[in-house]
């Protein structure tokens, strides 16, 4: 299919346009439209967007078939809506870019987004402000699509700010509740801190490279002649952008907003705070993979931050009792996994985990929403239990998602999580090792030859012998080992707390009060339908990325599919994967890979078993443990006192600064300066007000008189 030009593929514009139109219609007229129409407009917009995304995907596949892989940006479709800024060196168009990476994200956003819209129809059925909700939700989809489709960083930034705004609006959707409004503000402010770093990073990139266009930047970062320009800023710019991502994607130190964001409606948590917006940071780092892989130190920082976030959030999740909070911390933890993957250079694994996480975490949130809906807005899992028989569909889908996130084989989460863990163990960074750097700068040969030199000649030397290079690599190896072990422990914790949540919610005695118990019911079809679809996806979603040691047993015809994601994204990450990273275990490390996978399965099984023992077999155990470890429990319960520390460090100091500024403003600025100016103006005004008689004819006379004076000035050459 090649009816449309690859550089003018207008369906990209339509993908974005559909939700925008939906938002405009619902936002402007929603209050006066019938509720059914509001539903149809919102869901229809997402459905159209999904269809356009599928058409674009087909176009991309068709385009890729005609393209030779030339080591460039790889196959991509673009569409320029209009030229926005073209002044001097600054060129920024409203332009969209659709490459394999974007394709995955767009399909997840529009597909999962569509399911969540349908679910919302049922979930928000009783809310009088439903139209506002759907307008925000569509606006969010629009902004998110702008973010992932942007061809330059400026468009991405528009989307980046847009999703932040929509997130704020939706968290504070029930703004009458002061706590919820405050949660929205917290999310917005914390995000702004991250966005500020993001802007700085953008400016640094523009200052150095002179462009914001991803394709042009990619070209710069991959050719030997120009990469030297980017090398010095790779670390600072990458770090700034990564800090921006920590805000949006809820990583240490800016993760504090996400648990509070659960104040919004549950479908919002599913769409924005699990499936799409919070993964924007992962997406952006993957989009800029050729930039961040230039700096191994930055990669190490990202990996360590991700691992720390993963384990900290998982440890907090163990003791939380609010069903949504457990899921929120679990989301933070899984995002940590993704950043870990990015940090060790496993970009495919990061995107893979992003995708499967979107499926099963959206499902978990929607399942939780279904439970909350059925329990009449009860969120405390200590008051649930035994819902298995009362809500069979919710239970079945929730179980599928729990198995997926716990990493049980044959469920989606296993494949992606295993890939992340395996890559964190196996990948090593080769470019930028101290001592090799001068060689790059002096290199006159092509990048391919350089990479050949690096991968073949340097890497074994690094592993075997001494010298300065070994020191650096042993440090990098320590990072990798540390990240891997932390990831493994986190996987175990994940399995444990997720099954704790599952057992407490669906098994055992029902601990709800009698009145609630009588009303527990299965949710309507519009909610169960999306749950089932996502349930299926949570199972089969991982079958496009089997571990290599298993993939080879599949028949020849299936090979492109069992490693589908890796092949699909190969061009996007080609530079990083082929030239800058290397596997430590050689070409076909099936043995180590199998061992790593077994370790992951065993630790997941251990977590599940522990949860089973503690919450089904011997329900008195948690209490006992609790009494013995009161202190640790308290620290965990209070989330390591991070909120309190932030409150002391930033909020209080800001308040003090505010008070001082208030005094200065009140007495110096307002009293002396403004008051003085006001006095002068008042006196002058008293004189001048005589001129303003209100008579039109006088005004006309003034105008004529002024004209005459101007003429006189011209006549006598004054002007």
């Amino acid at each position: 299919m090649e009816p449309l030009y690859a550089d003018d593929f207008y369906f990209l514009g339509l993908i974005v346009l559909a939700p925008l139109l939906g938002a405009i219609i619902n936002g402007l007229f929603g209050a006066r439209l019938p509720r059914k129409v509001v539903d149809w407009v919102a869901c229809g917009a997402m459905a159209f967007s999904f269809v356009f995304a599928l058409i674009s995907l087909q176009g991309l596949v068709g385009h890729a078939a005609t393209q030779e892989s030339d080591g460039g940006f790889g196959p991509h479709l673009t569409y320029t809506v209009y030229q926005w800024i073209f002044r001097g060196d600054l060129n920024a168009d409203i332009a969209f870019l659709f490459d394999p990476l974007t394709a995955v994200l767009v399909l997840v956003i529009t597909g999962v987004g569509f399911l969540i819209h349908i679910y919302s129809v049922g979930y928000m059925a009783d809310d009088p402000d439903k139209w506002r909700y759907f307008a925000y939700l569509n606006l969010f989809a629009f902004a998110m699509l702008m973010l992932v489709l942007g061809q330059n960083m400026l468009v991405t930034f528009i989307g980046w700010e847009g999703v932040g705004l929509c997130s704020y609006l939706l968290i504070g959707f029930w703004y009458n509740d002061e706590k919820k409004a405050a949660a929205g503000q917290k999310a917005f402010i914390v995000n702004r801190v991250g966005d500020f770093f993001f802007i700085l990073g953008m400016f640094l990139i523009f200052y150095t490279a002179g462009t914001w266009d991803y394709v042009e930047l990619h070209e710069m970062a991959t050719s030997t002649a120009t990469v030297v320009q980017l090398l010095p800023i790779a670390f600072p710019a990458g770090l700034l952008i990564f800090l921006g991502c920590t805000g949006k994607s809820a990583q240490i130190p800016l993760y504090v907003w996400l648990p509070d964001a659960m104040a919004g409606p549950t479908p919002v948590s599913a769409l924005i705070h699990a499936a799409t917006m919070v993964t924007a940071g992962v997406f952006l780092l993957c989009r800029l993979n050729w930039l961040i892989t230039l700096s191994p130190a930055l990669m190490a920082i990202i990996a360590v931050t991700g691992a720390l976030t993963a384990i900290v959030a998982a440890s907090i999740a163990i003791v939380q009792n609010d069903i949504k909070r457990v899921l929120a911390y679990s989301t933070v933890s899984q995002l940590g996994f993704m950043f870990m993957a990015v940090g060790v250079g496993a970009f495919v694994a990061a995107i893979f985990h992003l995708m499967t996480h979107a499926f099963f975490k959206a499902l978990l949130f929607l399942g939780a929403g279904s439970v909350i809906h059925g329990m009449h807005h009860e969120q405390d899992i200590r008051k649930m239990g035994g819902l298995k028989s009362l809500m069979p569909w919710t239970h079945a889908t929730f179980l599928a998602a729990t198995l997926a996130i716990a990493g049980v084989p044959l469920f989606a989460g296993f494949y992606s999580k295993d890939l992340v863990l395996w890559n964190s163990l196996a990948n090593t960074h080769v470019l930028g090792i101290e001592g090799v750097m001068p060689m790059i700068e002096g290199a006159q040969n092509s990048l391919g030859a350089l990479a050949q030199y690096l991968t073949v000649d340097v890497a074994p030397v690094v592993e075997d012998a001494g010298g300065e290079a070994v020191e650096v690599v042993s440090w990098a190896l320590a990072v990798n080992w540390g990240v891997y072990l932390v990831g493994l422990i986190t996987a175990g914790l994940t399995a444990f707390y997720m099954f704790r949540l599952y057992f407490m919610t669906f098994h055992g005695e029902c601990r709800a009060d009698e009145e609630t118990k009588a009303h527990i019911h299965e949710s309507p079809n519009s909610m169960v339908g999306p749950l089932s679809i996502l349930g299926v996806l949570s199972v089969i979603g991982g079958y496009i990325g089997w571990p290599h040691f298993l993939a080879r047993y599949f028949p020849e015809g299936l090979q492109p599919y069992v490693l589908g994601l890796e092949h699909w994204l190969a061009d996007v990450f080609a530079v990083s994967n082929e030239f800058r990273l290397v596997g430590r275990f050689g070409e076909s490390p099936y043995g180590p890979e199998a061992i790593a996978a077994s370790a992951a399965i065993v630790i997941a099984g251990a977590g599940i078993a522990l949860a089973y023992v503690m919450y089904i077999k011997r329900p008195e155990l948690p209490g006992v443990i609790h009494e013995r470890t009161t202190r640790i429990y308290k620290v965990l319960m209070n989330k390591y006192y991070v909120d309190e520390a932030y409150d002391f460090l930033f909020v209080r100091s800001t308040l003090w600064l505010g008070k001082a500024s208030y005094w200065f403003d009140r007495y110096i600025i307002a009293g002396l300066l403004v008051g003085g100016v006001a006095f002068m103006t008042q006196s002058l005004g008293a004189v001048l007000s005589n001129l303003q008689s209100g008579s039109v004819q006088r005004y006309a006379t003034y105008i004529t008189l002024a004209l005459v004076l101007i003429f006189i000035a011209i006549f006598y050459g004054v002007i």
Binding site: Q692, S693, G694, S695, V696, Q697, T704
Partner: protein, 111 residues
């Protein structure tokens, strides 16, 4: 015979004559707008100004052998017709409110 042609050149109207006439009528209209108190006469003065501009347009059109000026004058007439209709409606409206159409009694603009 040079003085004859000079004399003739003053007797026969040129572009300058028409423009001077136009300027004179425009100024008269302008003074009318500024000094007359009756709103209706103010509008009549505005019509005078519009007409003087039309005269300039047509003189220039004739001077350049083009007819674009005619089209402009035509549009001005259309606008003047619309303006007269609305203006007179306003006068009626004001008259009902104030029992008078004196411009210097309408000083609400200063508030």
């Amino acid at each position: 015979m040079a003085w004859v042609s000079t004399l003739i050149s003053y007797w026969e109207p040129t572009l300058a004559h028409y423009l001077l006439l136009s300027a004179a009528v425009f100024s008269i209209g302008l003074i009318g707008v500024m000094v007359r108190r009756n709103a209706l006469i103010v509008f009549m003065s505005i019509e005078l100004m519009l007409n003087s501009v039309n005269l300039s347009f047509i003189s220039f059109a004739r001077y350049r052998f083009e007819m674009d000026g005619h089209v402009f004058a035509f549009f001005i007439m259309a606008v003047a017709a619309a303006e007269a209709a609305v203006a007179l409606a306003i006068v009626i409206h004001v008259f009902r409110h104030k029992r008078g159409v004196n411009v210097d009694e309408m000083q609400e603009l200063k508030y």
